[in-house]
Symmetry: D2
Amino acid sequence: MVIVMKANATEEQISGVEKFLSNLELGVHISTGSERTIIGVIGDKRILIDTPLEIMPGVDRLVPIMEPYKLVGKTFRPESTVINIQGVEVGGDSLVMMAGPCAVESEKQLIETAVFLKEQGVQILRGGAYKPRTSPYSFQGLGEEGLKLLARVREETGLLIVSEVVSTDSLEKALKYVDVLQVGARNMQNFDLLQHIGKSKMPVVLKRGLSSNIEEWLNAAEYILNEGNYQVILCERGIRTFETATRNTLDLSSVPLIKEISHLPIIVDPSHGTGKWNLVTPMARAAVAAGADGLIVEVHPNPQFALSDGNQSLNFESFSTLMDEIRKIAPILKRELSQ
Amino acid sequence: MVIVMKANATEEQISGVEKFLSNLELGVHISTGSERTIIGVIGDKRILIDTPLEIMPGVDRLVPIMEPYKLVGKTFRPESTVINIQGVEVGGDSLVMMAGPCAVESEKQLIETAVFLKEQGVQILRGGAYKPRTSPYSFQGLGEEGLKLLARVREETGLLIVSEVVSTDSLEKALKYVDVLQVGARNMQNFDLLQHIGKSKMPVVLKRGLSSNIEEWLNAAEYILNEGNYQVILCERGIRTFETATRNTLDLSSVPLIKEISHLPIIVDPSHGTGKWNLVTPMARAAVAAGADGLIVEVHPNPQFALSDGNQSLNFESFSTLMDEIRKIAPILKRELSQ
Amino acid sequence: MVIVMKANATEEQISGVEKFLSNLELGVHISTGSERTIIGVIGDKRILIDTPLEIMPGVDRLVPIMEPYKLVGKTFRPESTVINIQGVEVGGDSLVMMAGPCAVESEKQLIETAVFLKEQGVQILRGGAYKPRTSPYSFQGLGEEGLKLLARVREETGLLIVSEVVSTDSLEKALKYVDVLQVGARNMQNFDLLQHIGKSKMPVVLKRGLSSNIEEWLNAAEYILNEGNYQVILCERGIRTFETATRNTLDLSSVPLIKEISHLPIIVDPSHGTGKWNLVTPMARAAVAAGADGLIVEVHPNPQFALSDGNQSLNFESFSTLMDEIRKIAPILKRELSQ
Amino acid sequence: MVIVMKANATEEQISGVEKFLSNLELGVHISTGSERTIIGVIGDKRILIDTPLEIMPGVDRLVPIMEPYKLVGKTFRPESTVINIQGVEVGGDSLVMMAGPCAVESEKQLIETAVFLKEQGVQILRGGAYKPRTSPYSFQGLGEEGLKLLARVREETGLLIVSEVVSTDSLEKALKYVDVLQVGARNMQNFDLLQHIGKSKMPVVLKRGLSSNIEEWLNAAEYILNEGNYQVILCERGIRTFETATRNTLDLSSVPLIKEISHLPIIVDPSHGTGKWNLVTPMARAAVAAGADGLIVEVHPNPQFALSDGNQSLNFESFSTLMDEIRKIAPILKRELSQ
């Protein structure tokens, strides 16, 4: 922490800050410039995390030097984390492909989709049973019935299952049926839920919040790791900006940026990231080219009749094209794609 | 709903859409312009809320005509809702003042603040017992112990109590101690929590989400009303924008806008809205001048030692000035302020 | 400037930075913490303004300590600037009122509006002759003809004239006719234009750019002051955010914030700030309550037939109400309003 | 244009709108739903572009059906535009590579860079002579002297030259020396400049404004085409969002989106798009994978000593890697890269 004093700060104010810090058993390093005095703080600065030094007389502003997170950072763990989910690796040499319908609608829809995806080389089937919808009048998902359908399809196809949890209640149920949990954008800062997931020790896809910056996203992951669950897969899914031509603005630069500062794997959701099915494949290519560890894509046998997010779902033909193109780009990034 | 066809849509595509709608027992009204065909949909359009018409062949885009919400709108209830919380009215002729520390820290802090606020004419004491903090290493609140302190202070001072809930668990506890619930910005779309609050029938302050537009905010309120709880107080607390000079951008235009489209009362939180204590009083004045039904303000006996949000908390002297200035502006808006 | 070194920076890298700075004749102040080394730079740091120190080996990031601007800041000039435009003061005890049509359309429209505004106590007539329009097919203004109409109306009514310039060409013409120049949001960073205005020594209203933060806005003003023109009136007119219910998000907190860091006067434009005529009066009240030095408002005798911005223009009756309400709020802020 | 009437609009109000439109010689198509009346407008709606119908009694809102632009759209010209700049094609089968220093600093710097870039297969040398800088105290470019250096280097290397213009003055000078003009983000809505460029008939790179949506960007291009200059190359360079970890948020989804609605070529600037040199290559790969027609990249022989944008400039080694990787991805998109 560096404390920048105001241009007109008095000697008394400077020593006031000094005394305040020494009461907290923190050392100081005072640097008197031509125009400003700057105070460096030495010692365990976590003590200061909630201390409003900024309003002390003579203080202009504080400049944090250290990241607020620890376990998710590269300083803590320099090598990349590879998460092994029953044999499927995330964050290693292979690209992981997760795909499936936005919402679980029926056994027929699900099994038809799963069989197709399996053939395409997808490893993890996505399907929402609990849907957080903007309007209370939208389809809210099948709940536990949806989870049971997912589990049945896993038995038949061998695909692993990822599904969203929205509360401790749905978490408790999901833990009985799924292989990977998913936290949606709207719940990225539902800290109570994050802590429960941390305790569950189940692998989890943590989507970036609509208006969360990179640091807040990593802090949310820290909540999970801090409870002892290190199996966190970050997922870029677009942020909210002024642009309305797409549903969200897919911030692909977060991929190489996260790779620099965190050891956690990161995948991309081009379906929510764009909201338009015809932009999904180009942005899936771009995500892989940017260095993503995998993709999560919405696929529906008949998007026109989907009960949720039909506009951004690929049909089988389009998804097949997507896989073809990804297969060509992956080797350039030294990535494999399972057959 | 209006369906805009593409410039080059064929006759067949147009009749395809027509057929699709008539299968849903919806009537159509086709308007053939010089460049585009437009299809108006007649009947109960709620059927269409999740139907991805946008991807039907020949369709360019859909234009929703009706608001997605119902119970919160002025069409449903033209006159303003006045919520009576044990004699304190919100949304009527009086301005409601809620104030108190960001977090409940100790009995001493709380009682000292409450006695002062009572003298100033404040009716509702705020104090966080469950704090949703960006970092797991920040002070997370005293939990149920904090709620008990709040209840004890209510007994001593007669002030009503508002406190934040962050999960069904904390909700269950809060229902035993508080008079008004609060949903924070990060939980505005925690739909599971909203539904539980709806069932509780307890008055609630619903803060606007960091990146929520007006329509999403009203939809969140709709979740609560839809469960039979009509006692929702909206609270503007700033949105996330590119500007970093303030913690958030306080969008005061939401106040007169909400007054036009909804019957629910709306208050303003200038503390979170700015993040800087020295901007709180000017923005409090502005909020009242814009037509807000009240304010919620962070006050701390010694902000410099606050465990949370000290930078944006007023000390007693500053809050007293705020009250003086509000007292002068209120009558111009034909509002009273209790003594 | 403070240079934060990486956690793993070597001794060699640290002395590399030191050497680099001493070559620029800058002193250093090295503070070695438990986890990081921090280097404070001493001397005239303007040398560093374009130096990419951030990419030197071992450097994590730079933390600027000083504001990049000088002449617009309170450090340079602690007392508020009062601009006297032919007897009309901006930034002093009086609120300045500027009003008029978005665009000059005809002599009849202009004279009718001006006579009304004069009666209402407005001092400066606004009217666009050069209109920067998003589409080339929109009405682009009457050009010099519009300026001549404005000048004629000034003769008849005694109102001063403010009008927008969009290029050095339009500036040259405007200088012959108007009393105050206006730079629109889209040209806030048209630095060439700003420099020409600086040389002109004419008072100027500098609107905040659509996506400009406070610092960039002040830097734009610095371009004008740096050429010797100190008569700059800042104008908050809303910023671009994700919210689409209003045309822009009027960031009123910029008013008290600017008052803290700059000596320049600041007025508010609630017409562009909201884009809806029925939000203009509440936000005008709020602007004055927040401490603005004045307002600039769009008024049209018949908004329904306005050639530009009719949706956000007040008719005479509504403007008269606005003035009545402002007259009541002004004294609370110790401001006068001319009769 | 579709006019949505308010729920409680009277017969009189509906016929008022009808009459208003028929006075403008526009036909109407009235659709009376169960809850709302909708009025479709038939005829040349350009008349309505500036008509504030929205404030007519009984009108709720207007829904534009047609895009506001014409010449830049696919309806006007379905096939992609290929621009031929003295033998270098933009928008065809080849990817175009533009690269060079942010600012022209000296002949030595420029020639050294140009010789290297030529070897790498770059076709167009970028270099700023007129630099629009946020602060008046930053290096402002060499002006005409810089243009002369660029022209000299063209003679020696055969590279074509692209350079930014910031005013009609700099445009006039640039026309004597460069092969392609560039309009920077800050001037995207400098309509006066756009019109002059339109008249010049010189190829131009039009960068997206910091806070411009796709529609405004295309409207800006329309200003140029409308003056008879069809040689416009769009350039995505990132938009301003709440995220501060990168300088801008590179919105790569604009690439496939523009390809759907416009015939103009689009290139990507990953240097400004990220502001960090180590993100440039991953995002360059992503841009090509998303379908961009080319790249414009900042390269400097010694970024550490660059006078402008050193943080985001690649050195020769990094740029060489970038070219290697692009060469591998290009064929997957069926694109060639010149040797």
